[in-house]
Symmetry: C2
Subunit: 384 residues, 2 copies
Amino acid sequence: MNAINKTQPRVVGLNVPAEVGMSLDDVSTPALIIDLDALDKNVASMRDLIAKMGMRHRAHAKTHKSADIALHQIEHGGACGICCQKVSEAEALVEGGITDVLVSNQVVDTKKIDRLAELAKRARVLVCVDDLGNVDNLSAAATRHGVTIECLVEIDCGAGRCGVRWGEPAVEIATRIGASDGLVFSGIQAYQGAAQHVHDFNERKQKIDVAIQQVADTVDMLKAQRLKCDIVGGAGTGSYYFEGNSGVYNEMQCGSYIFMDADYQRVRDDRGNFISEFENSLFIWTSVMSKTKVDKAICDAGLKAQSVDSGLPVIYGRNDIEYIKCSDEHGVISDPDNVLKLNDRLKLVPGHCDPTCNLYDWYVGVRNGKVECLWPITARGMAF
Amino acid sequence: MNAINKTQPRVVGLNVPAEVGMSLDDVSTPALIIDLDALDKNVASMRDLIAKMGMRHRAHAKTHKSADIALHQIEHGGACGICCQKVSEAEALVEGGITDVLVSNQVVDTKKIDRLAELAKRARVLVCVDDLGNVDNLSAAATRHGVTIECLVEIDCGAGRCGVRWGEPAVEIATRIGASDGLVFSGIQAYQGAAQHVHDFNERKQKIDVAIQQVADTVDMLKAQRLKCDIVGGAGTGSYYFEGNSGVYNEMQCGSYIFMDADYQRVRDDRGNFISEFENSLFIWTSVMSKTKVDKAICDAGLKAQSVDSGLPVIYGRNDIEYIKCSDEHGVISDPDNVLKLNDRLKLVPGHCDPTCNLYDWYVGVRNGKVECLWPITARGMAF
């Protein structure tokens, strides 16, 4: 049993599924492909939407984990910076050229706090806080490293995960941040994660209305203590139009809009229509690898090619066949008219984009049926 | 948008979650840790079991995707070789020192067939077949490369995925293989994947009994055509004692036994007890990262740290707390007695080991509370 030294990197991607310039048909399957025209449209749509709403947009890189896409969002999509969820993810993205990063999550482990402070020497670094002791530890690390860490107090506005109660508990932490060396109180983090995928418009609106009221009240209470919120952040792809038009939030954190997925395609607007401002740009490129039954085909994209936590993938542009079952290495496709043949290629819209992207080492960017680029998934697996 | 050349590798693991010699408590979370004592016991148990049953064991590396563990299974666990599921996986494992590989799956894409033939220059290579045209394509590639590819005819013995019907369709393909240049007919692949996780003993036995009968009849029909099955392969961790004692199968392909998982712990033996010959050796090491509610804690292992397709993880050795909800980056832990504190460490038994391992770049091997080794997950992401 051979141990290895921690400084020895693991090299991946010596085998990649595609080459620049090849036809999409020649890309090895399963592969994660991006329709670059659709991605560009989504980036432009968000740029126009935030301009119209007078909002800032801090694009959430937890969706794509790619420095290339994050830079594209900043350069062409009007994003003021990015969010991510883990210190290792922030490290990878700063290494990839990003200079303004909010870790929209708590960082409470001593060594991780140290790494965060170290990172603040190379980029603007913000982090969320929901614990008084954590404020002291962040302050000590920032002081030790001679850096400034900006802190947002996180409010649990309905997701039932991290964050303190709105109002007094938030003010207490903000006050402590404001009094701590090396830290700056920059505002509030109030992301209602449990509302994003609520398909019904009114139910979704109701959840966000509650959040907006809690945030508004907290902002007022902070103001009374002379604690100014430069950032009132939150909002995702499923709810941004509520926060974006609230007059309370000023910074949105949408991530999935860049790709969309099968579950987001089930979210409806106020007229019962599907959300139409963004389109599917992310697909799993798969092939039929076994066809021994007249009414079924087996494709090569199973649980290691996608996350099925939010449901099975949808076969793009096809109503005659359906992805009906997923096991480790295989997908079962119902083929009632027996139209599929061995090696037929299919585009799957993944059920849930974020954890699906975290399975791949590369994005294969495609335009007009040709591979235009390969982008490494910079922060893949960076969960710690 | 910068394109990259296909020969440029992506280097990962410059940040690793642990160092050899450190205390388990200091390992960054979430991390995938292996209890090396438990792993060694599982390897020894399988060695003893196959000796007792007079079976060969071709350990399934799709579970762990690690060359280090595969070599350990061969050197100390009596394994005659390994199985894996994809050509890229086989390439990575041969690169890691494995010399006898069955791709227990169909390889039908022209370029993949070519890579498989290329690999046969460096290792004994076997593959499964369920299509006559595929036999011709494999034969052409083997001839072109001057290699031999061994073929197993795959029978669908109940899983409803790849494989032809038992009996005549299998004989037809075997005959074609036997008559093809560059190929050798080596036997039958009959893995009943849908039976492995059936919790009830009798229901599981019934499914495997059906498979055993189909395989026995097919072997007889092949024998009548002078087609000898050197390998009659199949069987997983949930069913191996049926195939292993059948007198029909001669090669088992267990994978999960090396780690076990929460779902396999629900599989019962004939007395209604849990399977006891293997123990949990794989855990997700996680920490409490938010504790703002008296009856709940939030840990840092969510959907990017585990696959929940077979259910949520179980918190190892704890009955007082429960992992109740999983989102992208967080796990919600019910903590009715309010015993958890920020930074508390917990060991999770993943719901399903195979797709969970495929999320990480490293195994952190632990013995007596200390990190003994770091093993790269050699074939992580190698799905194509």
